[in-house]
Each structure stands twice: as C-alpha cells, then as structure tokens.
Symmetry: C2
Subunit: 476 residues, 2 copies
Amino acid sequence: MAQRRTGTASLLKLLGQWHQDLPRTPVYRQLADGLRLLILDGRLPLESRLPGERELASALGLSRTTVATALAQLRDEGYLLSRHGSGSIAVLPEGTGPVSALPGFTPVLDLSTAALSAGPEIHRAYTHALMALPEHLNSTGYDQHGLPELREVIARRYVERGLPTSAEQIMVVNGAVSGFGLILRLLTGPGDRVVIDHPTYPMALAAIKGASCRPVAVSLPETGWDTDGLSATIAQTSPRLAYLLPDFHNPTGRCMDARTRATVAEIAARTHTAIVVDETMVDLWFDAPAPAPLAAYDRADKIITLGSAGKSFWGGLRLGWIRASSRTIASLIQVRGAMDLGTPVLEQLAAISLFKEADTFLPERRAILRQRRDACGEAIKELFPDWRITQAEGGLSWWVELPKPLASAFAAGAEAIGIRIGAGPRFGTEGSFERYLRLPFSLESTAMRSALERLQPLWQHLAQTGNVSVRGGAVV
Amino acid sequence: MAQRRTGTASLLKLLGQWHQDLPRTPVYRQLADGLRLLILDGRLPLESRLPGERELASALGLSRTTVATALAQLRDEGYLLSRHGSGSIAVLPEGTGPVSALPGFTPVLDLSTAALSAGPEIHRAYTHALMALPEHLNSTGYDQHGLPELREVIARRYVERGLPTSAEQIMVVNGAVSGFGLILRLLTGPGDRVVIDHPTYPMALAAIKGASCRPVAVSLPETGWDTDGLSATIAQTSPRLAYLLPDFHNPTGRCMDARTRATVAEIAARTHTAIVVDETMVDLWFDAPAPAPLAAYDRADKIITLGSAGKSFWGGLRLGWIRASSRTIASLIQVRGAMDLGTPVLEQLAAISLFKEADTFLPERRAILRQRRDACGEAIKELFPDWRITQAEGGLSWWVELPKPLASAFAAGAEAIGIRIGAGPRFGTEGSFERYLRLPFSLESTAMRSALERLQPLWQHLAQTGNVSVRGGAVV
C-alpha cells in the first residue's frame, strides 16, 4: 500500500526529551525506547514512513551507526518494517493489540485505561431492555437521532442540573469520542485549529489530529484554568472550536469553578467560537458535585456538550450523547451517515433503565472510587516518596508529577514487566509532560498496590542509575 | 460559529442538471428544489456558507431576482439561515431529522433506506447474550479488537466461503460504514484519491468526502465491471485505495463474477493499491450465492474486506467487522481510539449467537426478499411502464432507469407527499445519475405497492407537464 510519511521535524517534536543522561543506558536504546513508545501510544502514525537513517542521524545530532542500531532493534522487535528503497514503516508486531503484551508477558496489566468494571445494575438494565425490545423489532433499527424516551431522560438530567434542555436538543451517539468525531466532521476541515487544555484527554487529541486539524494548546496553570490564555489564544489563532474538560478534567481531575465557567462562555460568545465541553466524568465527584453545566452560562448558542455512559455506567455499554441547539443537532444527524449508521437499539433501552436508577447506584460507585483514590494515594506516597500528586476532585486518575523527566523511559520499562501505564506525553502535544504520569485509581486497591509494588524497583533503578534492563519480567 | 464555504464551482457540479424544460414550474422553484434536495441528502455540507446571490446568478446564468427568490423560499422553509454580511448558511429546519417529514406530513415513509425489520432470531440472540454477559461484567468493557469467540465464528464463515482466515485477521467494528471510516483514517490523508464504482453506496461516498479525500469514479458498464477502466484509473490517479461492492453491488444489485475478481486482485497486486471490498449484502442473494470472496484471489495482502450484521441480521444491531492481515488489523486497532472506544459487549454476544444459527434463518430471509423483489418489480412494470429495471442478483433494491433526467424533481415532489426516495445523484459524484432512482424492495409488498401507487400520479404529472405542485399532500 502507498505510504504516508512522517517528516523529520514532526518526529523530533514527537520524540521530545527522549535522551536522558543515563550513563548505563546506551543512546541507541534510549532512541529505540522513545520510538517504540510513540508507536505503542499511537502518536506516531502506523503505516507511515520514517525519515531515512542519514536524515534522522543528522537531525538528532547522532552518528548514523547509532540510529541504524536503534532502527535495527525496532525491526527485530517487529515495530518497523523495511521496504526496498522506501525506508522504515511504523507497524505493530503481529498480534499486538493495544491491551496485549510484549511476547512472553501476557496478560498485560493495563493501567493506561481508567475505568471501573460493571455493577449489578448493568445486567438488570439489559434485562429491562430485553423486555422493551419487541416493540422496536418491527423497524429497520437504524436510528441516527436516538430513541425519544432516552433523549427525554437525558434532557431531564440537564434540567435537574440547572440547564433547560428539550429532547430535540439531544442526540444519542456511540460514546463521547465518537460524538466528538462527529462534531469535528461538521465544524472543521483539514488544517483548522482546535484549542485544547494542555494536558488533555489523549483520545480527543487523536480525534483532532485524525480529522487533520491542528491542536493549539492552552496550558493549565497549577490550579484552575487560564481564561486569559484561552481568550488570547482564540484571538491569535482563530480556531474552529475549543475542546474543554471542566467536569472533571482528564488527566488532572480538577473541576472548573462557576466563575470560570461564566468567563469561558463569555469568551465563546464574544469570539464566536464553538466550545465542546466533554462531561464524561461529571458523575464521578468525591467531595462535591460540579457546578451547573458550562452550557448553562451560554447566551450565544456556542457550547456543545458531550456526555457518556462509559464511566458513569459501564465502558462495555458504548453510548454517549451530544447536547446542542436543535438546529445543530439536526445538522449533526445529517453528517452522521458518513461515520456510522446509529446507536444500537438495545444499548439505548439499557441506558434508559440506567438513567432512571442512576441516583440509587451512582452514590455507591462514587464511594468505591473515593476509597480507591485514597488508598492509591497513600500507596503512592509510601512507595514513591519523590512523586508529587495533587488531590483529584473527580474522575478516575492521579496526574503524577515526577522529579525528573523520565516518564517515557519508565513507561517503556513498565511495558517490559507487563504493566502498561500512560506516560505524560500521551496527554500533550510535541513530547511535552515527560515529568508526568497518569495513574488510574479505578483498579481494586489490593491489585493496584501490588502493581505499584512491582513498579517501585523499576522506578528506583531508573531514577538512581538510569538502568532499566528487564529480563524475564524482572528488573536486573 | 466560524463557517466553511462551498465554492461556486462545487455548487454548480453538485446541482448538476437541476434545470429541466418544465414550462409550468418556474425556474426559481426548480433551483430551490435542487438546492433543498442537496441539503436534505447531505450532499451540500450543512453549516457551510453558499456563494453570494450575485456570484450565483452570474454562474448559473440567471437574473439576480430569480436566485434571490429561490433563496428566499429556502429561507422561509428553514433550509437557509442568513447572517449579516456572511451570506446564506445551509441548515436543516429545526426538528428535521433524516427520517422526519416536512411540517404537516409525518411520518415520512422512508424509501431512501433499504433494510428489513428484525426476525424472531434477534430477540432470541439477545436472550442468549444476556445469559453470557455476567462473565464479561468484571472488566472495564472497553474492547477495540472484538471478543475472541466472535472473531472465531466470523473467521470460520470466511473459511467456509473458501478464504482461509484466522481470528487474528478479524476486528469487530460498529458497522461497515464505521469500519470504512477507520480504514480511511489509517490509510489516507486530506486530498488523497479513492477510486469508487460509479454509482456507489452514498455513505461510502460521504465517508470518503468526510475524510477530505477525493472520490475518483470508474463507471459501471451495462453489466459487470470495467476492469480496464479500473486499471487505467489507478494508473492515472495513483489512489490510496479503491472501494468496491462486488457482493452485491449497491445500488445496482449486481454480482462480480469469479474471473473479474481474479483480475481485480491482480490489478491491486500489480499497482500496489489497497482495495476495500464491502460485503454488506453478501448473504442476500436470490438465485445463487456470490463466488469466493475477492480476498481469496489476493496474493499481495492488498484486499481489506468489510462485513456487516446490519442487513444479514438487523440494522438495530450495530455491528460490522474488518478482515485483513493481522498486521493491518493491529494498526487499525491502534488508530481506532481516535474514532470510538469499541463495540458494545452485548451486541457482540448477540452476534455470536446469530452467526451460529445464521444458516437456519438466512434462507427464510432470502425467500422473503426474493418474493418482495418480484412483487415490487411487477408493480413497477405495471404502474411505471416507462421505467427500466434490471433484475437484481442480490441486495435490497432496484436501480431504476427513468426515461428523462427527472430524478431530483421527482424526489422533491415525493418528499412533499411524505415519501423519501433516493434520487440517483445521491449515488454518484457531481450531480450525475439524474436519470436514476434507487427503490428498495425490502418493504412489505402491500405497503410498497401502496407507496408506488401514491408516487404514480406524481411521476405522470412530472413527466408529462413538468408540474409537481403539491398541496395538502396531494399532487395538484
């Protein structure tokens, strides 16, 4: 197949701080580690062609032998394919899915995904759904808008949160990521700019790049949001839209306060910029629920809200929704056929049932998560005293600050002992956040502690000596 | 929100033969009808800005008053929004989803979708799925590859059709359209060319354009496929991939013979061009099953096959799959996160059950369709003696050839009496196929005949007098 090409400048930006002063880890190995992580994370487009050895060596300021050795190692491991005259193609080793392991270390413990398993309400909901199914079987089943009853219950939840909403303003989609893809399809074209929080949710970043748009980062300050920065960035770059995660932010777990929401809505109105608000985590609060939805401050029909059943209910129930003006919803429905032909009827029926009992099971889900968050926080403080964590107000993960920019090296070592973790650069553009990790606290506390205990010697070796050799699943 | 712009040249191409010699239909009405259909079909991007009145009038060779009157009518109907200084924006009237009607004529009878309702096997399958669900609830439920057991049964069906396939070569997706979007995301970038049959499946065309790629049409001859044309087009345009519908072609219902399959596979290998084969209709044959899959002739790992449960089982079960080399599958899984986070677990469990009993209920489904095809064909011959139809070998619809290029005018009139039909131009690029309609025969025969009887006077008036005035749901 014809190949796309990743340019040298792009590759350098993606690699970021790949090279550390680690005397016992050869430079070629560090380069190979950096490239492998880019491929595993999906940040380096698969099936794309890398720059040639000579070009790469010159751009990286390395000898051609060093680059050739690194590429040879990746070829041996199955991450690169060589084609006569066409250089190296980024691929995954045969049989490597995103949650499988390097050869010999299955199954991987996947700490790169933050989500809970299902509660008893899920089976109950599908049972109700099956009882309601027969009246829908006498149709073709294609449903691009969503069942009216489901749109009603979703609208009602917005009303309860202080945001008047009708069923016409709701569209049911196959999850928040899928909904965001649809919004990008409607409102953007190749080369358009999309403003993001920085760090942000990796799949949103992937969706923006996948739509051939350019993410424009507004850095999050120590706490809260930088609305001056948002306003200035919008003024300078004229983005098509901005994507924000106010309730709760992924990966930092922070919550946007009411005053900031009002300011963001005012910026959207003043600059005529659409803002996509992803509320996937909104039900997962610990101390207090989030303020009224950002869209409640919208006076100019600029805010499009994304919701998801994946975290509140279960990830195996693939359903999300979009809230916008009924005109925007009608336009989204019209473009949807180019992406998918609707949301499964049974999933929708199950979601109706879950929304109806949400207020009985969500408190319990929050209590479980709060306990896991606290236990995981204690374990981090005990096992990794040099890591810095800030209390998450909601969501499913810690955003860990490391004392040194070693996130990619650590993630590469963790991968080799069968644990996949989200290195900071997955959450940013151009290789930033090398001093950060996202650690989910959604895993049951004992399992999480055991994973952290396995990671501890790896971190110690890495931080002290730069040696991250792993053999037979153990750090040596 | 910032607006994209549809250029004058693009709009003219989309409009195609909008202007007929219809003495009793004013030109402004014909122009409004043409534009409305483009908006309703999704061929004119929603939220995009139209050229200005003056520019449009000059390009169309019309007076500015005529253009202004047409645009004013569309504005009154809710299909255009005017913004001070920024011209007209294409929108849908509030509350207009793709299957709702013009105000006052609900519900629309939707003959633009070709699909069957569910058989009793669907409820049975979900019941089995619910029994199998508990063992999956102790996971996060996110599944980008597909349940191993489902991939096994899908692989087995390919083996039975003469194509050796392992479960690693299968990936479960949210329908064939969604799978095609994923393939486009992996293999193409903006501006790349994608070769298509012409006519072709409108959603595939929408997916190609939505990925900012350029469709390059290879016209279908009277029968079969034009492999010389395919070969020459690939040589001349160096496309990223080609999208073909050999079993069975949508909208024509034809089936590619074994020799042509071998030739197409040889062209793919020789030109190093990936070919996406959409087999959505493969189970819906009438006289004989399709030959071995096109991929069975593949000697160069160039053929990617798409399958779907939407037509064989039920459209409300949103599930499809991709068959490719395990390396390509691994790459597709990696890019998937930018588009959706997986296929619902319960849908997958239901699909396992359906595949296991497919050979018992599919013959009955085919028998129902064969009977409906024949009844619908008889009704067409009787009520529309000047239409030409060619026997469909499989699939769900007739590709009707009209004696005059009146498809868009006819579809506009049908819309006004509450019947949505797929005018030929939906199935092609740049306004072609004005002499064609796609009529599904999936509707129950009595209902279909009654729809055709309602359409008959409309056609007669249109063909004879050019008068398609509709008042109160009746042709006047």
